[in-house]
Amino acid sequence: MSGVLVLVEHRQGAIRDVTFEMLAAARKLGGQVEAVLFGDGCDAMLPQLSSQADRVTYSAGPAFKDYSYEPYQRALARLVAERKPSAVLVAHSAFGTDLGPSLAVALNAPLVSDAMAFNMTEGGLSVSRGMYSGKLVADWLVPTEPAVIMVRQSSFKPEPASLSGEVVRWDAGDVTSGAKTRFVDLEEIPTTGIDITKAAVVVGIGRGVKEEKNMPLIREFAQDIGAVLAASRPVVDAGWLPKEVQVGSSGKTIKPRVYIALGISGAFQHVAGMKGADTIIAVNKDPKAPIFAVAHYGIVDDLHKVIPLLRQKVRELKS
């Protein structure tokens, strides 16, 4: 293992959690761990990073002020040519999925995405990743030529280290001439004011609800127990509930006292947004639904049969 580069992911002045997850995962592989920070005016981030890596390489400049794959890719490719690492880790995130595959092609490097576990073996890195929304796991052999690994968010534990990584200022050279893309702005998706992150009891609905006409029953149930309605991505995509109540890695992360998942399969992207809830109760027709791996309590049954009966029992308990 000749060393691992970990691309620091940051946005609006804050290092994103996945960075520390990747650094912890990289340290487990053995070999030198080098955090790579591209940014503008990010000096305040250096101490947090140098305690988690053997080295922090920092290239500062206006070209890196906002994430954009072109300057990041060019700089990273140059650094890889200098350092010759065994692997380059980027997050499997909005930034990383935009950068990882084109970086791998530019480096002519093997690529594996959405990695949830990896370890060194004789032939290279053995990397585990999910398929079919988590119903299957695939193990891939990835040669360390270097390997580009896009790391799943909220999958590795960000175990803290107390290293004293050397901070190296590095000149990435020209990363902007001939650019074909340009970052313009960040916009907040407009909301209607519902904040599901503050609710104590949340009812999450998923594809198992099947049709919009089944929604009123669920809404009434939520009202019965003073719960806020949230949803997995497919329900929001279908337009049944607004984006601001989407729970998951591209939506909100919530930690309610009680989370009731109705007709939610438990795909990792959704689970990442609710696994911190105190009590998770899942209702799903499929006994093998991944949601049961994270739920505290489960019912295998048709939610359309369960909910009307449940409402009745709740009314009885209240009276």
Partner: protein, 262 residues
């Protein structure tokens, strides 16, 4: 304006049990229904909206077996103008970059103003083909786009970021855009559309016609090799509530009261 959309035919496993096949490297597919990859359906809709707005031609491309033509015909029924299927008989074991190389071989020398792909496929969940294809073609790309504006000299896109943000970017044309679900409302094909599409020709291509040597495709042409697939143990820490539906509902009500939700 010429627009292309890469479509993938995937098994519909949302409500089906997934079983590993005897090779240990794939799942049993003979009892599964197949469908167009969800994000690709949104990509197709984006292309059709551009067709209406800019009077563009829309060409569909799919790498797959003969049955992949179902997905291409459905796309033509919705309004796409042409379709090509790249046969995958010798592509078994391809990783996503190897697949992108096959697509790049077809796209090379063809000028499309925009190439759309879906941001992610529901079978492998790789999310790699679009940006890899762009890099192979020397074109700029943007991944996980939900809103797109095609202007004469550039594309303006909005990409979804975690936490409720959109990243606004400009790209020079021609470009490759990967489309995330939810940004538009995919249309249904009309009966007339389906009838007309049934009569259309779908072009065929393959590794040989694309000038790709056997060692450059499939498992041989992939730097990453699939070792095995397996169904993860649902480490069910969950306490399952048992009994009739009525009994389970009663237990759940009691549980909710215990947890302070009633």
């Amino acid at each position: 304006m010429e627009i292309a959309v890469c479509l993938k035919r995937v098994p519909d496993t949302a409500e089906a049990e997934v079983k590993v096949d005897p090779t240990g490297r794939d799942i049993v597919k003979d009892k599964l229904a197949f469908t167009i990859n969800e994000a690709d359906n949104y990509a197709l809709e984006e292309a059709l909206l551009a067709k209406e707005k800019h009077n563009a031609n829309v060409t569909l491309v799919s790498v797959g077996p003969k049955q992949a033509e179902e997905v291409l015909r459905m796309g033509m029924a919705k309004g796409a103008t042409a379709a090509v299927r790249i046969d995958d008989a010798d592509l078994s074991g391809s990783d996503s970059i190897a697949l992108a190389r096959v697509l790049a071989a077809w796209f090379k020398g063809r000028s499309f103003d925009v190439i759309f792909t879906g941001a992610i496929a529901t079978d492998d969940g790789n999310s790699q083909v679009g940006p890899a294809l762009a890099e192979l073609l020397g074109r700029p790309h943007a991944a996980y786009v939900t809103k797109l504006d095609i202007q004469p000299d550039k594309l303006v896109v909005r990409r979804e970021l975690e936490g409720g943000f959109l990243e606004v970017k400009e790209l020079k044309r021609p470009a490759v855009i990967t489309i995330q679900t939810g940004g538009n409302t995919p249309r249904y094909a009309s009966i007339m559309g389906i009838k007309r599409a049934g009569a259309k020709t779908i072009d065929n291509a393959g590794s040989a016609s694309l000038g790709l040597r056997p060692e450059a495709v499939g498992r041989a042409g992939s730097k990453t090799k699939l070792l095995k697939v397996y169904v993860p143990e649902v480490a069910s820490a969950a306490q399952m509530l048992e009994g009739s539906t009525d009994e389970k509902a009663a237990k759940l009500a009691g549980l909710l009261k215990e947890k302070g939700a009633v």
